[in-house]
């Protein structure tokens, strides 16, 4: 809600879901207008009843797979941490959606662009915390230097004998979740620690594109030379005959 207020995003039209256990999860998923949602997960009964909450949004990876595959370089990983999609450069190809191992970015058909949590770069650059962190009434969300937050997460994990999620998934992210139950139980996807590509595809495509264009043009010129050779030979022979 604080996120929507800061970015002036419109509310989703939701209904009370009949999906068991998810009735209190509204909005039920990320959308181009919902960059963060909290999944409510209940389990157990009586004395073992647990009501868990999972905050779901972009993990702001250290080496963002989305940025690596974007063919137009619309995604930037800022020094302060945020991974931001530049809506003006975005062409709506959805490569980033296919690439994201956490399944975060969402495509807006009407605007032909992809949207996700940008970690409020305008706030972060001024030394403020993102809107969601400021709004959290229980201080469940904390914001700070990656090393500090990682140390805190590990300390808390040891204290509650739990788990940390996001520290080394996908070669490391900027969003750490400390839970007392396995993160998968709260709906967080299991993600590999390595990435299949660690270079930016656009850096490969651009020079290749240049070579390919040269090769195509060059071959067109060459083909045209060969195609017209008969004419030239005929002309030369014609000239020769006349003499």
């Amino acid at each position: 809600m604080a996120c929507k207020r800061w970015w002036d995003l419109k509310a989703e039209s939701t209904t009370l879901s009949a999906a068991k256990g998810l009735e209190w999860t509204n909005p039920p998923d990320l959308t181009p207008n919902t960059w963060l949602f909290v999944r409510s997960v209940t389990s157990g009964a009586g004395d073992s009843f647990r009501w868990g909450f999972a905050s779901v949004r972009c993990m702001h990876c250290v080496n963002p797979t989305c940025r690596n595959v974007c063919p137009v370089g619309a995604i930037t990983k800022y020094e302060e941490g945020p991974v931001v999609i530049d809506a003006e450069k975005c062409i709506g190809c959805k490569y980033c959606i296919a690439a994201c191992p956490f399944g975060i970015p969402r495509y807006d058909e009407a605007r032909n662009k992809v949207y996700k949590c940008p970690m409020d770069p305008d706030r972060v650059k001024e030394g403020l915390e993102p809107a969601c962190v400021q709004a959290c009434p229980t201080d469940a969300l904390e914001f700070g230097d990656r090393e500090d937050m990682l140390a805190k997460a590990i300390q808390k994990r040891n204290q509650i004998n739990g788990y940390v999620y996001g520290d080394d998934e996908n070669e490391g992210t900027s969003f750490f979740i400390v839970t007392d139950v396995p993160p998968e139980e709260l709906g967080y996807p299991t993600v590999a620690k390595t990435q299949p590509i660690t270079m930016q595809i656009k850096d490969l495509i651009e020079p290749l594109g240049g070579v390919a264009t040269f090769a195509v043009l060059g071959s067109l010129v060459g083909l045209s030379y060969i195609a017209h050779r008969r004419e030239r030979v005929k002309e030369a022979e014609g000239k020769g005959e006349k003499e």
Binding site: A11, T14, L16, A18, E23, T42, F49
Partner: protein
């Protein structure tokens, strides 16, 4: 130091722990035999009071778009109800009852009162007939017996009967 609610699932308890209500006001009460379940009301974080303001804000309605009643899995299986099905909740103040969507959850557990199992259901009381999100008001069901000293009505708890609705 306990005072039993005016409508109690066990009438013996009212003798032992008398209710301190203002008898100048006429109050309609029901018997536990007719209304065997207990209704309690609760608040949500996203809505406030009768929801006149909050049920007009899209961001808040996005979080809680509809009125609901939370029932325990035990009562749900007894009634043949799943999450998302509608139930009718009746009380002595509203015998026709309100038709409300049910959420089946382990948050609600049956009570054991003097050895007898009593089912409890919980409703938020933020809905009403006008706004972006409308729905039945819990306060057509709650009891208006008023506390002797503070004049606060006993909206928190009363007896009810919950049945599966069409």
């Amino acid at each position: 130091m306990h005072n039993e609610p005016l409508e109690s699932p066990d009438s013996g308890l009212t003798g032992e722990y008398p209710t301190m209500w203002d008898r100048r006001f006429k109050v309609v009460t029901g018997r536990a035999e007719e209304y065997p379940h207990v209704l309690t009301t609760f608040r949500l974080a996203e809505h406030m009071q009768a929801g006149a303001m909050t049920r007009n804000l899209p961001w808040l309605v996005e979080a809680h778009p509809e009125m609901f009643v939370e029932i325990s899995p035990a009562l749900a299986s007894a009634l043949g109800v799943n999450s998302g099905d509608y139930v009718t909740v009746r009380t002595a103040r509203n015998p026709e009852g309100e038709r409300v969507k049910a959420i089946v959850t382990e948050r609600i557990q049956p009570l054991t009162v003097n050895g007898k199992v009593v089912h409890e259901v919980a409703m938020p009381w933020h809905w009403g007939f006008k706004g972006l999100s409308t729905g039945p008001s819990a306060n057509t069901l709650t009891i208006d017996a008023v506390d002797v000293s503070a004049n606060i009505p006993e909206y928190k708890v009363c007896l009810c009967k919950v049945e599966r609705a069409l």
